[in-house]
Symmetry: C3
Subunit: 176 residues, 3 copies
């Protein structure tokens, strides 16, 4: 039997990591993964402060085991927002199309979408995707980019993800 699929969820938030409030965003990502995926999988969850070196180390650790690591928080212009920089530092290659599409989708709802610096990239055998901090925006962004994620994981030789196609339709181009 093949090794079980592992998906990392990383919340970067000073307040959530200090227990000042509940990490609703991290839970929203986990729920969305349950909705999307038909394949069995385990979630590895981390909630850390907005410290760039802590985020980098946690991303590296998660990418050793996971094929997909989704972050929430720390993508804005404030001084403590450093998730995109941490992501860029640990990635072997960047995928600018994810940030472009997520900002474009969010722009349909709020003009402040352009303040989000979220990005994505490949770290070893994992895809890292930064999501915004607000639960509602999380689902809007994931609905837009997730159809490309299973094929992306195929291309970096990760596990084959099967989706609940009534919820999300993955796209895998025919081999040319």
């Amino acid at each position: 039997m093949s090794k079980k699929i592992k998906i990392g969820v990383l919340t970067a938030s000073d307040r959530a990591s200090a227990g000042i409030y509940e990490d609703i965003s991290g839970m929203a990502i986990q729920q969305t993964m349950q909705d999307y995926l038909k394949s069995e999988f385990d979630i590895i969850y981390r909630c850390v402060a907005d410290e760039q070196n802590i985020i980098e180390n946690t991303l590296k650790e998660l990418c050793k085991e996971c094929c997909l690591v989704v972050t929430t928080g720390g993508t804005g212009p404030a001084i403590r927002d450093v998730t995109p920089e941490a992501t860029e530092n640990v990635c072997d290659k960047m995928l600018p199309g994810f940030g472009e599409l997520m900002r474009q989708v969010s722009l349909q709802y709020v003009p402040t979408a352009i303040l989000s610096r979220q990005t994505a990239g490949i770290c070893g055998k994992a895809v890292i995707i930064n999501l915004p901090g607000k639960p509602k925006s999380i689902r809007q962004c994931l609905d837009a980019v997730f159809p490309a994620v299973p094929y992306c994981i195929d291309l970096i030789e990760g596990p084959y993800l099967e989706c609940n196609e009534d919820v999300i339709k993955p796209f895998r181009p025919k081999k040319s």
Copy 2:
């Protein structure tokens, strides 16, 4: 009484800085700020040659006093166009969504919009936004991105900007 809001306007142009022609673009930005803002503010205006180190030093100087610095000129592919590089060098973090949206808006008018390399970012407690060189494009771009600017300045702990809402509608999301 609170310290008066200061906005920097920086024109990068070999010819305008040499007095060969009038800096219509710099004036267009100042006029647009007068149209947009209900809050009182002072403009700090600079017009310099397309020299990267001069642009960088001027940006750093302006960002010490201003909450917003708007540049015009030097964003194209020509050898003397170095404003985006200067901006990236002085910024603590980049805001790629500004350039993406401004190019998208300009593309509705001219296919050469993709040649513009304009970007935006945070330098200390100021937002820097690169605008194109042509007065008409300046207003098109500012109309698209400015609704996000007052909230961006809130997030970096700058002054509270009030707008003439019949001209431009700033958007500030409710705290989550």
Copy 3:
């Protein structure tokens, strides 16, 4: 008589460079240039393995003679895909608007368009444009960005490209 226009076509592909399959993509670019350009030109064609240093050296060599270098292949997330990194390393300045627009156009056809990391930039007196690997996507992307290419070459002091305007309409803004 003026020196003849030279256009570089670089295919980055382990399999095509090893003769395992025919380089249909490289041929598709050459055919598209024949369709687009009324000016006489020569194609300088190279087909190399997906090795970053080889791609960089080939790009540098092509950019010494050509005003335009179009690449195909190596823009995805797989470990051997390194064309965008090679392009960024040899370029003096980047033109992010090309990648943004090409991904946006490809997104109308396939959700996996966001996996493409294609970019463009200026290397000396040449424009380098990364295209996707599939012939159909090549034409979709070129149709979108090529109208800006002749003016871009004007701005970097290259030769004046004339197009077959019934096939592609170049745009040159009036001097302001």
